[in-house]
Symmetry: D3
Subunit: 332 residues, 6 copies
């Protein structure tokens, strides 16, 4: 099944060698973004995946598309235009020092998208699924409108729609609250990913004393189109040592993945996107929810050991981890 992911590709600038931003005299440069990360993972795993976005017609815009194409994502339908590429500066955390993200994406080619700018019909031609995240409608009124256009187009075609809520409080600066915007959009979705905070702030669903499966079911109930609703739970001993687990409900039953212990993490960014990709990969091929959530959590776990936003772990590596191979024997 073909998947279309829609969102913004960001240039990520991160000081090497655990240096702080204030010290940096160089930045490692990679391209990523929540939806792009999902696309790269799916393409790597062999699912035909395309990406829809707008990037500036500049070397940086071209490089952003190339960064996806390099891993097999089809970028034919992406548009060139707008004024600048969105950026973020990432200070990688270690131990007791947390990671820090400075967004610099206002006015970007994606944030200034308007309805009509993108070739939704062409891009959805032959697609079986559309994936978006809660970041796009946070960027601007017009970006939210552009997303609405796409969701409508996908709905008309009866395509599976998935969403990762990805709540980022700092991004909602154009006068709307997530709870003003997201419920209407989520109503069209069939697969949803969030966490306690996102369900509360974006959808207004919170059950303070409820356990997580109960909360998941409450979300599923509030949005009857949802076939699958998932959440992740991250625990943190330090910036470089976390735990990770996913839960997934089909409304009737809730499955929990193994709980992964993640020592010596290399790159925390994109863990949730790897989980989202894992879910989609399995659900789109009809796997059971136990299989889907377990695969997704293992994929997410391995992401923490890949530098850059995207998960470059292979199906074989994910299977090996699920089979319990965590001891790090050298693969020769």
């Amino acid at each position: 099944m073909n998947v279309l992911c829609f969102g913004e590709i960001l240039l990520r600038l991160s000081p090497p060698s655990a240096l702080r931003l204030v010290q940096a005299n160089a930045f490692d440069a990679t391209y990523g973004g929540s939806e792009a990360n999902v696309a790269v993972a799916l393409a790597q795993w062999g699912l035909p995946t395309a990406f829809l976005t707008r990037v500036p017609d500049s070397p940086l815009g071209h490089a952003a598309l190339g960064a996806l194409a390099r891993y097999g994502v089809d970028t034919r339908h992406a548009r060139l235009g707008g004024e600048r590429i969105g950026l973020y500066f990432l200070e990688q955390g270690v131990g007791l020092r947390p990671s820090r993200v400075l967004y610099d994406r206002a006015g970007s080619s994606a944030a200034t998208l308007r309805p009509g700018d993108l070739p939704w019909n062409d891009a959805l031609q032959g697609a079986g699924a559309l994936h978006w995240s809660g970041i796009t409608p946070a960027l601007s009124h017009t970006a939210a409108d552009a997303l609405r256009e796409g969701i409508a187009c996908a709905s008309d075609r009866g395509i599976t729609i998935s969403c990762d809520l990805n709540y980022r409080a700092n991004l909602w600066t154009y006068g709307q609250q997530p709870s003003d915007v997201l419920p209407e959009l989520v109503r069209h979705c069939h697969v949803l990913l969030g966490d306690r905070n996102a369900f509360d702030r974006c959808l207004g669903v919170s059950l303070p004393d409820a356990d997580d499966p109960e909360l998941l079911r409450a979300v599923a109930k509030a949005y009857p189109n949802l076939r699958y609703t998932a959440m992740t739970r991250r625990g943190g001993a330090s910036a470089t040592h976390n735990t990770y687990q996913g839960l997934l409900t089909d409304g009737a039953r809730t499955a929990a993945s193994a709980l992964y212990n993640l020592p010596d993490m290399v790159d925390r960014i994109g863990g949730g996107d790897a989980f989202m990709a894992g879910l989609l990969y399995q659900l789109l091929r009809g796997s059971a929810i136990d299989e889907a959530v377990d695969f997704a959590a293992a994929a997410a776990a391995l992401k923490h050991y890949v530098r850059g936003d995207a998960n470059l772990s292979t199906l074989g590596e994910i299977d090996a981890l699920r089979a319990g191979n965590t001891g790090g024997a050298v693969q020769r």
Copy 2:
């Protein structure tokens, strides 16, 4: 004599090792900007120099101020505020491939300055000169207004005012032409730097068939407050091999510097700023125009061999070059 420079500090991102922007997976990061480069050069040469600007209250804003303080510039009066640091991406040219600059400075903390944002009175306390460039009024209406406020404040105090026209066609996007804005501002100046193109587009002064000294005198005549008017002439055999010369008039007489041959250039950016700094350094201490223009051109010549925007050449190195030591004997 104390000098106050006013302008924007930019984060410059440049791929290492002559890589192109579309290939880059890392960027060397330095901080610069036309007026900042003047400030660093003057401070390095021992002239007490301060810088007035606004940078975001973020690690990048702090680093920008630190990059000037590191070389002795007083940044006490700079303000923290606004949304983002201005950026530019620099693809260093080599041989037949020209350098390329991608500005990404819209909406920066400096571009959104408004009158009243900066402590002009405090900053000009004790200053003998104010330096600005034609870049600031190109950024926005309000930045032009903030500059006007500063120039008025300096004029009231009878301080020497200098300007480098620095004409960048791509920056004038807010609806005004340079010729709408700059003549009024230049009218208050005592020292002016430009080139044929800038005099024409910013001040409307062009004498198609005239020689350069005649043109300089025409500019000087059109702006009677000008005590010194200078221009630079750059010839290019390739992106890494230029020639460089400066001319300076006091209205009565015009002096030309030596013509420098610049093979194997390391960093082309900031050559004009190094010339401007050289002029100011000599003119503020009362040197004759021959001495001033020759020193300025030698300083500019050496800048092409310093990586980054600013000229870190010492007085001794400039003197040695003027004395003819171009052969590169090792200094032990």
Copy 3:
């Protein structure tokens, strides 16, 4: 018109910072190869271009395909298989020290190709041209056979076939001489690139006292299918300062490009491939030979200022160079 390029993608390992191989404790890694370089250039210029090859099913093989996909080359038809990726070590020359290439490609996935291994019919579906080079038949008997299979398939379809002779004496180690193999293959070609040495050693065409246009015409005459025959002339003042010129005949008339002076070269490898790509780009769109050879030479000239094997110069940059902009003024 769609183009299919066929050949080997090599992992190139080159010490950074002008270090010698014997000193190196790190290598810059890029992927290239004569035909791959042609493909990247064509795709960058907007011509739909695909690449056919075999790479190992390993991270290095995947990276090799990604390196082409990143710049827009369609790699769908490439096959995974074989034992290893071909390598070459490149010691970049400077001044009086020449560049040095150590090939390590014996037994590679491409060198061990056999007829039947590649999906020629699928890959040539819709293609208007097939490009190959004299390197493939130098690798092994079976690789030569695989090439024969492709040429036959293209001939059957009446597709334009182009060849760059690319004579490398050291590669012909499996018992055949180029003159045993190439004439038969070239007989099917419509566009041919070589130089004096290649025409002599590969095709047995040499006219010792003839001028170059006469030689070109002799080659064209010997291979009546050739519509266009081209050659390049390189002069060398040093490893980092060359001159470059191309000639192109349609059998009737011969056009010569401008003669480019190339100071401060960054990367010598791939100059001829950039020329070949430039020829194809223009000839396939029906340009006159003067236009084609001039564009090709300008493209080749700019390649010397791009690190890596492939030419990442844009159409705009090539036009600017042809218009005489060699002086390296900063593009802002």
Copy 4:
């Protein structure tokens, strides 16, 4: 309150990427030193801080001063002179391999200081505190004398004097023992930092069976001018996993900080200096000892995650750690 720190700035040379000294073909270069590290931390936190030292009049000396000025330290009173900059080579330890420091500071511009070389009166003008460490009197007879001159000058002005004993057995090579020199100097101090070993070897105070609070009180009693006496306790599971705690007495009562667990440490050097700076920052503003020691320990804990000698952690980051945020959630 203004603080003057006095001591040596060293150029630190450390192999990148956990390489050993014997393997290194490059060194990361930073500037630091115990007292300089205190100065940078205080300046970063907004306390006006100046540094007094002597560095050679060379690019390395200028860079050393710039490294402090960059973070807001006033270096106006520092002197240029002497023969060389002091160096140390640092091999960063990991896991079971300890860090290793090779000092190369004999004969440095600071080590050869003599009384009269420094402008103590100017530098102490307006200062409320003078900070020094036990390293300076270890360097040479004359450096110890220069320190005595400064302490006398500060005592005459009634300024608060603080000292970090910083016992380094290998530095005391000029014929004096720390116990010959330090007691007399510490007698003038009001704030003192040490550990069990330093109190014993430098001041001759040891109470073998006593607990740490008792020991601290014994030191305080032996030096009646001391208003605050502090010590740190470090435990080590490995070179990259320590524990850290501080104790502080005002003579009457002793407060202990939280005990920090420090996994995945990035840079062990300067932990004690960060603690010292934290103490001074709080005590000089009149904080209670519980607040002071807890802030100091949290500052020291975060230092282990900053590359280089100096603590670039902000007040906000220290507060967040004290509030229990150790889990490393990404700060967006």
Copy 5:
């Protein structure tokens, strides 16, 4: 006592900064190999050690020899010849992601060695021991024969022969099984190192329910020439956190080393070679088995904190670890 080590030197190419092979645009380059690693360790510890091998007569071959000579290994007898240097690509594992080795050594100068190619008599002149590993006979028929020649030559001279079985399933591709080849070769050995898997697959010795000491004794019994038989046990919590222990029997008694806990590992490759070197160092000087195995395990433990294949830990560092100094106090 002089030691001669025989085997292949490989060029190891490893992406920096925990990048994956598929992402890498640069490789760190070092030279190593099981037997070469033993040689470097022994030479570093002061034992006169020589290395016998064949490398290509190219800058890479010269660099391979230089990499050993740099640490004191005598490479006088090594031969230049053959076609290529053997390579391996190493993707360093972290946390849950295991290390991955891609061998590319087929057809190398060492793999194509034949009897008569090496000057065994000269090289063994004055040697007291010959060391080889199970990798050489896995490379090719002829390499196995060349090894046989050397073992025969050493046996004739009555020299101590040691072997590390080093079982690598992927290397045995020329049609022989290790159990076809190794028993005959091991029969001449006096010191043997393996693990459960190697004893089983190479020698056919396995006692499923036996404890390790019993297994060791069984091996010793099956090969009566063996004076010392050793094995290592590695446990893995993750790719960067292992445990390590060695056992050694003289046939009569079995000694076990301390069990080392290895957090925050830097480089896993060469741990077993460091153990082997430690054994040889002690056994050749007549140490007791308890001393030998404990030294060897401590040496192996420290290897995990040295980048590159070889152990650059000093005798002093090994002693300090054995004395319990694992806490990582800075050595000044």
Copy 6:
């Protein structure tokens, strides 16, 4: 013929990428020194060469010896001891900016050598030549004495003695002038290298109006033991573009080498040492002076294209240059 070189090995620290010392946050580290550079060149060319010196018993001292051993120099007789390794900081010049050397070698293990510290008799066992330079006697009284001891020992054995005057004004700081010390030492030499300045300042030989051959003959006449006297002439268009030529007399006849034009130089340091090595290589094997001086000049020319102090050019490369291959054709 075996050669023994005697002198100091320095750790050279040089900012990468043409950065200035005042900007550097990293240094490339290599080991070199005039006499060490001669030794490496000779060993690379196949002449058995040993090096005598003293380095500290530290990782840096060990690395210094390893840097020579890596290229085949025998360092067995070198002694470990003394306090520190000598350093120099090198700011590589480009274009109009000259290279700058900051020596930091006072008190080094070599500078504090005394007679009796080195095993001259062992080291000269079997040697046919001893090479020293004018740098050693510039370091200290005692180093000069140690050199005298070695020269005496070599003279007693009737060994060929060679000297490169290497005049560095800044090094002679211990109270003696070169002309107080060198004449007596040169009196024992058979091969001498200098230039106009060195002959004047070290030996007091100057003939203001004489041509160079005449001057050379005058030196040869003043020191009757000299069999060969040579000088070099360097011209400089810029720091990265020089010319280079050598002259050599046997007292009777003077031969001049080709005059080399050196564009795009990579590393200026060690050019003279490469010339010295070339002279020795040829003279010790009995070549005629024309051959010797031409080889030496070509070797020196190629050195300018090798990073680091030492010349890693091969005999084949030198021959190719002498044959006129300067055009930089790629060697495949």
